[in-house]
């Protein structure tokens, strides 16, 4: 097991390197140069080309691009992702760490709802294959996969917040009210979480259904039946265990998609997370913040993939010996 973990971690290192390189290249593509962004335009008027050259030298921008990359990488590894241009030189990492908890909680809740409902519906669908229930659930899954999350979000807002008034329309807490983990937060979270979870519910339901159907017809289940085990024992001990555990790894694969969805949902519900931060930074062309958001979300995705793989190897010994 330790060996598997070490091997898996080692594989992630070149990936991290590649990731930093990609981010750096994207950053290089951005129009405008950093000096212009950094200096007050009025001050710029009094500066000659010599002063600008001096500044370029000071910031190491006169060096060739590959050297710049390694200098940048050295800082980034130490946690210095640069400074925000728009918000008066606040460190990017600080800005992002502030916004991380809302996004993490939004995504955790989404995955939890997606797993719970997705597996439940998938199992029902499989156990009552070809029933009217199965048919209804399957057709609903098609809808859930086809309707974009922003349309779900807007419909949810229109029906449940504006028309019925059951839920608030934006934010994490009522303005002026108490913050922290409380009922108010839950109340605010219902619409964004469900708008985001629709896709996951449908996707996981599909996998769960196929997986349960595959397992139910497996030989060891027939053997269990032949031995005269109760149906309940067969389902819980043999079928669900084998059919549903592999689905855990899908969560890791879903995360990259979830980050994109979270960004959209956060902008609709003004959920103060990393997505909303990235979106506003993009509108303001605050490139250091944009890069920070890209890097942090990729690092989280990589880490989550690593964790799901390790967790999977832990529950299924076959994986770590392959």
């Amino acid at each position: 097991m330790t060996q598997y973990i070490i091997r898996r971690v080692l594989i992630s290192i070149p990936l991290l390197f590649l990731l930093s390189l990609t981010s750096f290249i994207v950053f290089q593509l951005a129009p405008g140069d950093p000096i212009q962004a950094l200096i007050d335009p009025e001050e710029m008027l009094y500066m000659g080309p010599h002063d600008i050259e001096e500044l370029l030298k000071e910031y190491g921008l006169d060096k060739p691009v590959p050297v710049q990359y390694f200098l940048w990488l050295k800082e980034a590894i130490q946690g210095n992702l640069g400074y925000s241009i728009q918000t008066h030189n606040v460190p990017v990492l600080e800005l992002i760490l502030d916004r991380l908890p809302p996004t993490i909680s939004l995504m955790t809740a989404t995955v939890a709802v997606g797993l719970a409902l997705g597996l439940l519906f998938g199992v029902i669908s499989a156990l009552y294959q070809y029933s009217r229930m199965d048919y209804t659930l399957t057709i609903s899954a098609f809808f859930m996969l086809s309707v974009p999350e922003f349309f779900f979000a807007l419909m949810g807002m229109f029906i449940f917040a504006v028309t019925l008034g059951w839920f608030p329309t934006f934010g994490m807490w009522t303005p002026g009210g108490e913050t922290g983990i409380n009922w108010d937060l839950l109340h605010h979270a219902v619409l964004p979480v469900f708008a985001l979870a629709m896709n996951d519910i449908a996707g996981l339901m599909r996998y769960a259904r196929a997986s349960v159907l595959d397992t139910i017809s497996a030989d060891f289940v027939t053997t269990a039946r032949a031995k005269g085990l109760s149906e309940r024992l067969i389902l819980w001990k043999h079928v669900f265990r084998n059919a549903l555990i592999p689905i855990v790894t899908l969560i890791g694969l879903r995360l990259p998609v979830l980050f994109g969805g979270a960004l959209i949902v956060e902008t609709i519900f003004r959920w103060p997370g990393v997505g909303l931060l990235g979106y506003t930074a993009l509108l303001q062309r605050d490139y250091p913040v944009i890069m920070g958001v890209l890097i942090i979300s990729s690092v989280i995705t990589l880490a989550a993939n690593l964790l799901t793989d390790i967790a999977y190897a832990w529950v299924d010994p076959r994986v770590r010996h392959s």
Partner: protein
């Protein structure tokens, strides 16, 4: 990435738009007995026709495509011409879907949007089919270190929060329909690359392929004559679902304001223009019409993809993949 998740992924081809196996199973019941002398493609065609939802999706999409193609003729009004005396009118007999903030006819704009969405979907997917084919077949044929390196890279692209990167690139390069097509295209290929690779690996070992190569057939001949015809099925399914994914991605981008810009219409940008509580509650037709259009288009394509999967019996074949 674990082998298990890869194998599951192989059958789904596109993790972002999985499609329910259930409907295929449901429809499988209705499959008519076929005379044995039919060619594989004729048989697939018959099966597709027997899949009612797929047929409905196909008809719906054809109508949409025809309307989009003849938009300049059938459109009742000029989609880009403001009409300041009838602003924000609800749907009536003249403007079937009402008018927007500057009095443009919503129905005409939906038709224009169909053109944008469908062409983005098709062009973006064409781009990534080419990339996926090149990377997948090099990987599958070369094997060894080349294969390892390419597959690691594919894993890397898959773990990247692609949509965030797409948003950033679109934000940086500027809103422009061609940029959008290319950007969506260059990130969509990993699923297809794996599909090509997996199938090539399996088919290389098949006896008739070995026989062909023993008879002196060139590698190119083998790919074109033996391998490609055999993976038409899974690739068609992956392409169909890919178009759905690309349409959703374009809608998401335009919804955030990084896609198609005024005065031209895309479904996503129409919703973007109608954001805010005042529009949401007061003029719901402004966002319901384009939202329904996106959902209908994607739903039709997903149904079609499911019918094709059923028709080509994709699951049965790709299970043997890897």
């Amino acid at each position: 990435m674990s082998t298990e998740s890869r194998a599951m992924d192989e059958s789904g081809a596109q993790p972002s738009t999985p499609i329910s196996q259930a409907a295929a199973d449901l429809a499988a019941e209705e499959i008519i007995e076929l005379p044995p002398e039919l060619s594989p493609f004729r048989r697939a065609f018959r099966r597709f026709l027997a899949h009612k939802l797929a047929l409905a999706g196909f008809i719906c999409l054809t109508v949409m495509a025809l309307l989009a193609a003849t938009q300049a003729i059938v459109s009742p009004f000029d989609p880009e011409k403001p009409h300041l005396f009838k602003v924000n009118r609800p749907p009536d007999t003249v403007n079937w879907m009402g008018t927007d903030q500057v009095g443009r006819d919503v129905f005409s704009r939906i038709l224009q949007g169909a053109r944008v969405s469908l062409s983005v979907g098709i062009v973006a997917v064409s781009i990534y089919v080419v990339i996926g084919f090149i990377i997948g077949s090099i990987s599958g044929l070369a094997g060894g270190y080349v294969d390892d390196a390419l597959m690691r890279f594919t894993d890397f692209v898959m773990t990247f929060p692609t949509f965030i990167l797409i948003i950033i690139l679109a934000g940086i390069t500027g809103p422009n329909i061609f940029n959008i097509m290319v950007i969506i295209g260059i990130f969509g290929w990993p699923g297809l690359a794996r599909l090509f690779r997996g199938n090539i690996l399996v088919m290389r070992e098949l006896e008739y392929v070995m026989a062909s190569s023993a008879l002196g057939a060139s590698q190119r001949y083998i790919i074109v004559r033996h391998i490609l015809p055999n993976i038409v099925g899974p690739v068609t399914v992956a392409i169909t679902l890919g178009v759905a994914g690309a349409i959703l991605a374009e809608a998401g981008l335009s919804f955030l304001g990084f896609g198609v810009t005024e005065p031209a219409a895309s479904w996503g940008s129409m919703i973007n223009a109608a954001r805010g509580i005042a529009f949401l509650a007061g003029f719901p037709w402004l966002w319901i019409a384009p939202g329904a259009a996106i959902s209908l288009a994607v739903l039709s394509i997903n149904f079609m993809g499911d019918g094709l999967r059923d028709a080509f019996d994709v699951r049965g074949r790709s299970q043997s993949g890897e």
